[in-house]
Amino acid sequence: MQAFSLTINGNAVSVTAAADTPLLDVLRNHLGLVGTKFGCGVEQCGSCMVLVDGKPEKSCGKTLSGVAGRDIVTIEGLGTPQHSHPLQQAFLDEQAGQCGYCLPGILISAKALLDRNPAPSRGEIARALDDNICRCGSHARILRAVARAAAQMRQGDAR
């Protein structure tokens, strides 16, 4: 057991745990941030996606020691019902989801995409989400929602 410092959603936190504890377990069990979901544990489904220094990463495959000192953003850091991120609002506007289990990971992947490409095509959005599995078949809505959010963010920037 060792104490590690990292930044989660803008807040400095210290976590005392084994160095090889998966970041996913740190978030869910040590910090109570259950928005990030367990899906497979072997980096195949994207349910546990978070941003690490702005890059989308599967938190089940990252160790605590490996993210020490890094800047982590989870779904809880994306927005709140009171201050929603345009992506979250767009997902509500498009009713983009069914069971919703995959959505936090997808929203994080989409955030990473829009941060580097503010005007992605449908194909570019789809490719950016290929690491995320949605089993209910909400894909068409999700693709529309990401495009809608991108358009709204571009409008916001132009204002």
């Binding site: 377990d25 979250q88 009713q95 289990y101 449908r122 194909g123 789809a126 089993r135």
Partner: protein, 733 residues
């Protein structure tokens, strides 16, 4: 009104007759509404709120909905079979209408105003648009809702609806989008421990040895082993520690009685050699008319996994003689009965509460995970136990949809249309839900396991393996010959569509073959044998949506002259970039022959592998509670069915299911999802609501099959339509 004829009550109201089982006004300003149906990703909570708000004439925001809780809600069995709205919603609607009527009766009596002049507006009793001073809450104390529903209060007509028929946003979506703790996986109770199972590899397998020392040495923190018979679990406060031990523990447990299975059984044709329980449904076997043309074709499908996006999870605590279980099971009451049998407890001492889980498309590991948690909790009183299956455990031990063979045959009349039709089906069982105590993995592992459930399947319509085996077409004589295979290499149970998926694929593929042989356009051919006007309407609408054009001259190799739509947006443009072929296909079914109608047109591009580029869907689901929610279900069914058609099949090795991750069990990814256009036909109607959740799957698979046949000039009859099968067909052609 007392002399009115007894109304035909829906089964849910017969089973749960008291109005107070459905509606209550204990909390001022709010209405408690209860449903036995549960949210499995399909949006049912939203629809139930809309139904209750409509018939009670209150704002939806006032409704507090309880769903799937043995302490709080009616027993409506399982949330399955696309029946939640068609049956559960209809029951709730009648109950709410009757409650509103009782309050209006009472308001008339106490106010002296004629009943006909009174109405309800957001819970307030009004007369001529003005408040009367009475409302649901002020009158609630005087009205006993502990009475049985009569079903005699008229429900609103579709033209009067203001909430039903609107696209109310999903009541559960925002919490999911903001990452709140909505799933059973997210529950945390004080003092909770985490548990993982070492699964019995096969029914009847017994533990020979457990190297407990090796397991404990691998643990980087405190753990306990919980064992009873062949039930073995690892339990500890730190999930990371428990998970790591669970990964290595199976290597330290030796089992007896694990016979190897035959991995060739992953393909379906082995079913044809198995002993079976046989029956014939429909017209008696026909004497083959001399000289009549007869055609036959055979279609297969591998086992299919539910492959929910996350493995199953449950929480349980046994405290003060009561067992409390939180689960994403589809049926809290049947699960309670099964747990009571397994643990030899009185059901009244068990509470089972539904908490949402990952999307559920049938009988996955949810019930089994709940039983795991319940068994461990029962053995460790006072400690809340959280069981979360491992991903490979879900793939390896959930009940899968059985492999199937469906052979369709017909004798044809002079016009090339069937005069006599047979659908012959070979399949393992499609239903093995927990009922009286069998069919739980934990129960099988405990001492004195229940006997294996008898290999039976309901012979009543709409059937399970036989589902949609009876084509809706107006053929003079039709029959289903069903071979139920008792012994299958892996456990099987219900998956969205059950037998309908392969049966519709077979029937609708064969219809295209017959149309081609008759030299008739597939749409025109279907319409020529389709009498039901609602069926005709969805076929015609789907064809129109897709710009379907009858063939000028049938030419299988070059397709039927369907104009290609614009290239699929996800592919990034280009006219197919050397695509070997394009094709379009249509298919139709009415799910179970009694739920929603759906017709699908699919467009494919083939360049070694199949790519679905566009899908059009027209569906008639009768009265639709939430059109956007219904379309979401159609879309989801379409995407899942594309995945089934192109990719999915459970792999086996001698130890059982070997496809235990997303690499070996691939599903459709975002880049492979086409543009999808769905339309509801006749959604504002006084026709009763029809279940829509499983309506689009079978027709989608079949439409893809027909499109592929057109593009290739040869037909693939074995699912999935993989690159290997396409290449083999191209080489042969």
């Amino acid at each position: 009104m007392s002399d009115a004829a007894p109304a035909m009550l829906p089964p849910a109201l017969i089973d749960n007759p008291r109005l107070d089982q459905w509606v209550g006004f204990a909390e001022p300003g709010h209405v408690r509404v209860a449903t036995g149906k549960v949210e499995i990703g399909q949006g049912v909570l939203t629809a139930m709120v809309q139904i209750a708000a409509e018939e009670l004439d209150i704002m939806p925001e006032r409704i507090r909905l309880d769903a799937g809780d043995t302490d709080l809600t009616p027993n409506e069995g399982y949330t399955s079979g696309s029946q939640s709205i068609q049956f559960g919603g209809v029951a709730l609607r009648l109950a709410c209408a009757e409650v509103r009527g009782l309050f209006l009766d009472h308001a008339a009596a106490v106010s002296g105003h004629p009943r006909a002049e009174l109405a309800v507006r957001d819970g307030a009793i009004i007369r001529g648009g003005e408040p009367t001073g009475h409302d649901y809450w002020s009158l609630a104390g005087a009205i006993d809702l502990g009475r049985a529903a009569t079903g005699r209060t008229p429900i609103k007509r579709a033209g009067e609806h203001t909430v039903v028929g609107t696209n109310a946003p999903r009541v559960d979506l925002a919490a999911k989008i903001f990452g709140e703790a909505v799933f059973v996986h997210d529950m945390a109770l004080d003092g909770m421990v985490h548990a993982r199972l070492v699964r019995q590899p096969r029914r009847g397998a017994t533990i020979a040895t457990v190297d407990e020392a090796a397991i404990r040495r691998a643990a980087k923190g405190p753990i306990e082993l919980v064992r009873d018979g062949n039930f073995l679990a690892i339990v500890g406060a730190d999930e990371t520690v428990v998970e790591a031990v669970a990964a290595i523990a199976p290597g330290h447990v030796a089992w007896d009685g694990v016979d190897p299975i035959n991995p060739f059984q992953e393909e379906a044709r082995w079913l044809l050699q198995q002993p079976s329980i046989d029956r014939t449904i429909g017209a008696p076997p026909a004497d083959p008319a001399s000289g009549a043309r007869r055609r036959e074709a055979s279609f297969t499908r591998m086992h299919i996994a539910h492959a929910s996006v996350a493995p199953s999870c449950a929480m349980a605590v046994y405290r003060d003689g009561r067992l409390e279980v939180w689960t994403h099971s589809q049926g809290v009451y049947p699960l309670r009965a099964a747990l009571a049998r397994t643990l030899k407890l009185d059901p009244s001492t068990i509470s089972v509460r539904h908490v949402q889980g990952p999307g559920c498309y049938g009988h996955n590991g949810a019930d089994d995970a709940a039983a795991d948690a319940a068994v461990i909790a029962f053995k460790t009183p006072g400690t809340p136990v959280r069981v979360r299956w491992r991903r490979e455990e879900e793939f390896g031990f959930e009940r899968v949809s059985p492999a199937m063979v469906t052979t369709v045959s017909a004798t044809l009349d002079a016009s090339g249309r069937p005069a006599d039709w047979t659908t012959e089906i070979w399949s393992g069982r499609h239903t093995s839900r927990p009922g009286g105590g069998g069919n739980l993995l934990a129960a099988e592992a405990l001492p004195d396991p229940p006997p294996p459930p008898p290999p039976t399947e309901s012979s009543n319509a709409p059937g399970a393996g036989t589902r949609n085996g009876d084509p809706l077409y107006a053929f003079p004589a039709k029959r289903i010959v069903h071979h139920l295979i008792a012994e299958t290499p892996v456990r099987t149970s219900s998956l969205r569509g059950l037998g309908a998926t392969l049966n519709v694929f077979a029937i609708e593929s064969f219809m295209d073959e017959l149309a081609e042989a008759a030299g008739v356009d597939p749409v025109a051919y279907r319409l020529s044998v389709l009498a039901d006007p609602r069926a005709r309407a969805v076929v015609e609408r789907a064809a129109a949506m897709s710009g379907w054009q009858p063939p000028s001259s049938p030419s299988p190799a070059s397709g039927r002259g369907q104009p290609p739509s614009s290239p699929s947006p996800a592919s990034g443009g280009g006219q197919g970039g050397g695509a070997a072929g394009r094709g379009r296909g249509i298919a139709f079914a009415r799910y179970k022959n009694l739920a929603a109608y759906a017709a699908i047109v699919a467009e494919v591009e083939i360049d070694e592998s199949v790519r679905v580029t566009r899908v059009w869907c027209a569906s008639d689901a009768g009265l639709v509670i939430n059109p956007d929610g219904a379309i979401n279900q159609l879309e989801g069914g379409i995407v899942q069915a594309i995945s089934w058609a192109l990719k999915e099949g459970v792999r086996l090795d001698t130890a059982g299911i070997s496809s235990r991750d997303w690499d070996t069990y691939p599903v459709l990814r975002f880049s492979e999802v086409p543009e999808i256009e769905c339309e509801l036909v006749g959604a504002v109607t006084d026709n009763p609501p029809l279940g829509i959740g499983e309506a689009s799957g079978g027709p989608t698979v079949a439409a893809i099959g027909n499109a592929v046949a057109q593009a290739l000039g040869t037909r693939l009859r074995d699912l999935p339509l993989t690159r290997e099968r396409v290449m083999a067909a191209l080489l042969k052609a």
